[in-house]
Every structure is written in C-alpha cells, then in structure tokens.
Amino acid sequence: MLGACITLLLVSFIAFTMVNLIPADPAEVALRVNDTTPSEEAIEEIRIKLGLDQPFLVRYTHWLSASLQGDFGTSFTNANRSVFGELARSFPYTLTLAGISLVLLIAVSIPLGVLSAVYKDHWLDKIVRTFIFASTAMPNFWLAFILIWFFSIKLYWLPSSGATSWSHYALPSITLCMAYIATYIRLIRNSMLDTMQDNYVSYARARGLSEYQVIWKHLLKNSLQTSMTALGIGVVRLIAGTVVIESIFAIPGLGRLALSAIFNRDYPVIQAYILVMGCLFVLSNLIIDILQTVIDPRLKSEGEYQ
C-alpha cells in the first residue's frame, strides 16, 4: 500500500514536470487555440488568470492538493468547463468501449488459446497462430477503416461514427480488442502448454477423469492464474489504448480528450489524464495482487515465510 502511494506521488510529480517542460507558452497557446490574436497585453492578462506567473513548486503543490480533493482546475481551452467535468463526461464512453472490448477479448482469446494448446501443431493451432500473426501485424487504424468500409458503406449495417447507441460501439470495440487479442491467445496457449507438463495433470488423467474435465476444470483454472496479471493490466491498457480508435470512430471518450488536450497544450487536462491513468494502473495491480492471493493461498504463505 505504501509502495502504491509513493508510486502515485512520483507519477503526479512526473506528470506535472513533463507537461511543464513543453517549450510553448501555455498562456499564448490558450489564446491561439481560441483564435485570439496573442498580443503581449492579452498574454500577460491570461498568464495571471491561469496562475502561470507563480513559481513551479508553488504551482505543483497547489495543483496536487487541489487534485487530491478532486479539483483539477479548469480547461485552458474552454473556461466554462472544469477538468473534472471533462473527465467525468468522457470516462463513461471509454469505459463502455473498453468493457465491451474486454468481454470480446475474453470470449475470443480463451477458447482460441485453449484450442490451439490442446491441438498443438494440428491445423487448428496453425490457423490460430496465423491469426495471431495477422492481427499483430495489422495497424488498428487500418482495420478500423476496413471495418467501416465493409459494415457501414457496403452493408449499411452499422453506423460509422458517434456513440449514441449500442450499435455505435460494435466496430470500435472489435478494433480495440484486436490490438490485444494476439497477446492473450499466446499467453493462454503457452501457459496451458507449460501446465500440461505438471504432475497433477497426469494424476488427473490417471484418476480416469475425462479429457474435458482435465482441460476445462483443472488445466484452464491453473493456467489462467498466470494470465490474470496480464489481464488486469489489460483492462487499463484497453482504456489507455483508445486514443486512435476514439478519434476515428468519433467517440467522445478519454482518449480523444487527451489527444486534443495535447494538441491544444491544455496543461490541466493532460496532467489530470496522466494522473488518472497512473492511478488506474496502480489500483488494478493492487486488485490483481489481492485477487491472486485469494485464488491461490500459496502466494500468501510464501510471502509470510519470507
């Protein structure tokens, strides 16, 4: 727990420092992105308004203490919008997208991973491996356009952009999960193959359990444990990986918010985004650690003996 807190503090400091290392003057950019002529008077006025005339460390402590209370300041590019409000507005879209992708990811990668392990070197395994290869090699923006072309333009089945109904999420979530699917199939396949060598598998077979029971009840459960950490991080990776996809499919989620904030040098939004992402990673690690000890009590006792 203490480790997690230190990590988060470090993340917050890095987020703040990195963003402040960007050479452009945020006061000037704030004027420019609003199409206002950045004259000296206007820059000076806005610098004071945004608190940019304060020293670096003062700004950092102010920001950190406010952030801890959920106040990330207001967006530089639109004074009517609070950063917290912006995050709160975009998060549900990204969460929905990542959630559907995760379901797809699990639904596709577990069966395929298991099949290709069980039928190792069989034609089925080869097909799965070709698929892994192809999906890793294919850039996801390209896949996105192919899907739009096929399902929206040729077939008129699905909308090409927006997020106003569930059907809008179909194409983006397929695209998003494709980027990660290969990793998980391979992970499950390899850990299945490793576990297959274990004694308890031979013992289970010797006990006369059916092959179905051996694979789906014993092998899979034990193999999944190793994949669990990866899957936990995967959830956050899905959330963080939406930047390109949200832009193509015009989904107003976190990824797009971050992208436009970067282009507009919207410091408060960039900082808040990095901080939130950092928190998510640390938090998901923590949860996975706890879950693993619950599933496999051996981990806990090992820890105690050390």
């Binding site: 003057d25 004259s39 097909i127 952009s161 569930w166 499919f249």
Partner: protein, 528 residues
C-alpha cells in the same frame, strides 16, 4: 482465410449489438460533419465554431456577394465627413429568440462588453480607437434614441463596416445571457436574433439547431441542422459515403485528393469557390543566407507555381502571381510577377556572390543552406517542400526541411527562428486590412520576417495610414506602396490562391459560399 473467419465471428457479435440499422438522415434535417465540438459560442470571443455563431447571432451589416455591404440589423447607416462618427438606424420589430427586444440599449450593452475585454481584440484597430475615445472620459458608443446608435472613433477607420459584417466579435447576444453585465467571464446562454437557435448540444458528439419561429426576416427552408463531430479526415468522408452525413464543407476539412475522388462519384456534388486566400512562402530577411534581396528574388524565380498548382494541388488552387489576388480590394495594381525562370535566378545568385563550386553554391567558402519549416499536420505543405527541395538542389542550393507540430511551429514563426516557412493570408473579407494590419505587430511570422528590410518602419506607417485614410485615392496610394515594397523585396513567394470547397449529396440544394471561408451559408440551403 483467418481474417474472413474473424470477420464472420465479429459479425455475429456485431449483429447481437445492433438495435437498429444505420439510419439515413431525416428529410427535413441537414446533417453535416465538423471536426470538433462547437465549444464556447460567446459571440464576443473567438473560441466557438464560426458556422454555429453565424446561425445564432446577427450583426448590424451583412456582407453579401463580393463583400457588398447590405442592411441587416441596421437598416441604414452614415459616416461623418472626418470618418470618425458612424450613425446606425436599427431595424424595428426584431426580438431575440428568448423574447427580449433588440434596440439601441442592447447594441450599446454588447459594444461595451467588447470594450470591457479590449485585450482580446487587439487585431481590431476599431476597438483600440473606441477605447481611445473612452479614455478621454467620453462614451464611444452612444444611444441616440431607441432605434439609433452612434459610434465614435479617435481617428477615422474605414474597415469598420466590413468588421461589423464578419462573424466575430460585433454580433448581438441577448442581454439575458450576460454575466454581471458583461461577457468576458463567459455567458449564461447562447441566444441571438438569428434564424436558428441552439436546441441541443452533446459535447464532442453533435449539436442541433432548430428554426426560430418569430424570426424577423425570410425563413430558411431547412427546419433542423445537425453538426456531427467527426475528428478524423478519412472517417468524415466515409460518413459522407455511408449517408451518416449529407455534407462536408470547408478548405481545412477536404483534401484535394478527396475532392477529386468525389468529383467523379455520381451520388455527390462538389463545388469550388472563387479564390479566398493566398498560400505563400515567407522568407526571413534577417536570416543569414536570405538577407540579400537578390537571393530572395532568385528563389521566387525558381519556384514553379504552375507545377505546384496542377500536380500537387490537383488543379484545385490557381497559381498566384502576387501576394494578394487582384480581386482583393485595393490589390488591383500593376506588379511584374516573378516568372519561373532558372536563368534569371542563376544570374541573380551569381550577382549576389553565390557561385557554383562543383555541385554546391558557395559564398566566401560557405555553402548555401537554408531551412524550410512547416506544420507537420499539413501534408500538402510537406509535399510542396519536398518538391522545392529537389528543384532547388539542381542549382546547388540546399534546402533542409523541418516539420513540427502546430503550436511549436507557430512559436518558431513568432520568434523569427526560421529561414523559410509557409504562410496563408487571412482571406476575404479580412484581406487586405487585417492581413496587412497584422504585419505591424510582433505576433505573426510576417513581423519577424520583415525586420531585415530597410523600409520596415515606413511599411508599418503606410499600413496604419491606409486604415485611417478617409479618401479612397489616398488609401489606395498607401496600400499600393505596401504591396509594391513587399513585392520588390520578395519577402513572400506567393504560391497559389486557395479556393473553398464543399462535397454534399445530391439531395441538398443551394450550397454556396460566403465571402469569408470560415462561414457556411446554411441559411440558404434546402433539401429536395
């Protein structure tokens, strides 16, 4: 094979998710694609989408075709002999869409809100001249009676009437939307006198506008307008093809290649406007290798604009001979264009001391090397840069290319840390007054690039004089001096005149262009 299997699999999931098939836009609704949210529509600032501000808010004067001044919320106006006092008669019977009446008090309140936030309007000489009057303790904007208002300036300033016609900032917001009597800290609502009102906005997704029933003027034909946010270029065009949107409008949103593709598609119409602005290169006269006028002239002669217009811009832009096209006000003057001519260029370079030494041109043993910086998001600029790099290398001139992200690029321009860069004029109706006016301040690349020419101080003075001149001939003389000096000094290499573009499906009618390329004349469109 595997991909097909996966697609089939994906299809199963997809069809499970489908609630309804992608619906085509409703008949009385026009849906078009924009690349970003409408943002803050405060008409007194610049942070909102112009098309939306233009639907909601109206000004005193309307800019018609070719920039003709037409009555709008003012039915009549007059200018005093000395050019300092403007008197406007306001239209009667106009109401804001929240029911508040439009009258002289409201006009004054809106003008005063602008003066209250003067630092944001430094590009407008008019605001400065009004503030100067206010500083003497006198009011610059005065209510004469309920439907008459007068505006006084410290000096005469002719572009004021044109500035009243452009979308920002001289448009009228309902007094009920003001925050503590002003608008500089935001507004409570976005209500104007326009023919449409904002009915809903889902941030970053779509904004809807519906007709205002009590509009004072002629009612537009389309009942509802929806602006969908699609940030990606390709995705926007795909949405047009799939029927999700009816129209994509604007120079920034349509590449030449995309325009050409849709040109041959029978389901769509494509249209091009008259030239609206000039795409040019800007040469820094302070830069070590470009401080000699002859070198800059040589580079002008070495730039084949016809090839750039035809091959790179696919004929969608016309080659430019001068900094401003001759149809721009006050720019119809005789200047000898720098024709593409390699021999003349060589002579000029030799005369300037840059002689060929093997394959490289050198002066005092130092090779000729300059850097062209561009905004890396603008693919066209990169292509033009690469073409020039290969062309100029044939004469032993080394051109390095630096592509940067937009904000970094703009910083570089402002601080004069460049040899060559791309530049675009402000476009009609801001040309020539705002474009040339901007050269006087250390805000854009123009100011930095002109520092090395001996006449810089005179140039700035003539620009100011042109803005303040009360007599047409005098004003023309000042503009002629400025345009001629810049031309002779070869500070700019005009490349092409940009034309505005639109692609729309055939059910739309009446799609055209306003004088300003940033506006979309949605009010004039209709659906078959």
């Amino acid at each position: 094979m595997t991909l097909m299997k996966l697609l089939t699999l994906a299809t199963c999931f997809a069809s499970a998710l489908i609630t309804s098939p992608a619906t085509l836009a409703n008949d009385s609704t026009l849906t078009f694609a924009n690349y970003r949210d409408i943002r803050d529509l405060n008409p007194h600032l610049y942070g909102g989408e112009i098309f939306a501000q233009n639907l909601l808010f109206e000004g005193l004067i309307h800019l018609g075709e070719n920039g003709k001044l037409e009555p709008w919320l003012a039915t009549n106006w007059s200018v005093s002999e000395d050019g300092k006092l403007y008197t406007f008669t306001l239209r009667e019977g106009v109401t804001f869409s929240d029911g508040s009446p439009f009258n002289a008090e409201v006009v004054k309140q809106n003008f005063d809100a602008l003066l209250d936030n003067g630092n944001r309007h430094t590009w407008l000489e008019s605001i400065r001249l009004m503030l100067e009057v206010e500083e003497t303790g006198k009011q610059s904007v005065r209510v004469v009676d309920n439907h008459t208002i007068e505006v006084e300036f410290a000096n005469s300033y002719y572009p004021f009437l044109v500035e009243l016609g452009v979308t920002r900032p001289f448009r009228f917001l309902s007094p009920k939307c003001f925050k503590e009597g002003t608008t500089k800290d935001g507004t409570l609502c976005y209500v104007g006198t326009g023919s449409y009102q904002l009915s809903s906005n889902t941030v970053d997704q779509q904004a809807s506008f519906e007709q205002y029933a009590n509009y004072w003027g002629e009612k537009p034909q389309i009942e509802k307008i929806v602006a969908k946010v699609i940030p990606d270029n390709q995705a926007r065009l795909l949405a047009l093809r799939s029927g999700d949107v009816d129209m994509v409008y604007g120079l920034q949103l349509i590449t030449a290649r995309a325009f050409k593709q849709f040109e041959t598609d029978p389901r769509f119409n494509t249209i091009l406007s008259e030239p609206v602005s000039t795409r040019m290169l800007i040469l820094n006269s302070k830069s070590d290798n470009l401080n000699d006028t002859r070198v800059r002239q040589a580079l002008s002669h070495l730039t084949n604009k016809a090839v750039i217009a035809e091959r790179i811009l696919l004929g969608l832009e016309k080659p430019a001979d001068t900094l401003l096209a001759r149809n721009v006000p006050y720019a119809d003057i005789e200047l000898t264009p720098y024709q593409y001519n390699v021999e003349t260029a060589e002579q000029l370079l030799n005369a300037a001391g840059w002689t060929l030494d093997g394959k490289v041109r050198k002066k005092d043993g130092k090779p000729f090397e300059i850097t062209l910086s561009y905004d890396s998001d603008k693919v066209v600029e990169r292509t033009i840069a690469q073409y020039l790099q290969s062309e100029w290398s044939k004469l032993g001139l080394t051109l390095n290319l630096v592509g940067e992200e937009e904000q970094a690029h703009r910083d570089r321009l402002k601080h004069g840390e460049f040899d060559l860069s791309f530049n675009i004029s402000w476009g009609t109706p801001y040309d020539p007054q705002s474009f040339l006016g901007g050269m006087r301040k250390p805000v854009y690349g123009d100011y930095a690039a002109q520092q090395g020419i001996p006449e810089k101080a005179q140039l700035d003075q003539h620009i100011l004089d042109a803005l303040e001149a009360t007599n047409e001939q005098e004003r023309q003389a000042h503009y002629s001096y400025v345009l001629e000096t810049l031309h002779n000094q070869a500070i700019y290499i005009p490349l092409t005149y940009e034309q505005n573009r639109a692609i729309f499906n055939k059910k739309l009618e009446g799609v055209g262009f306003n004088p300003s390329q940033f506006e979309i004349p949605l009010q004039r469109m209709s659906i078959k």
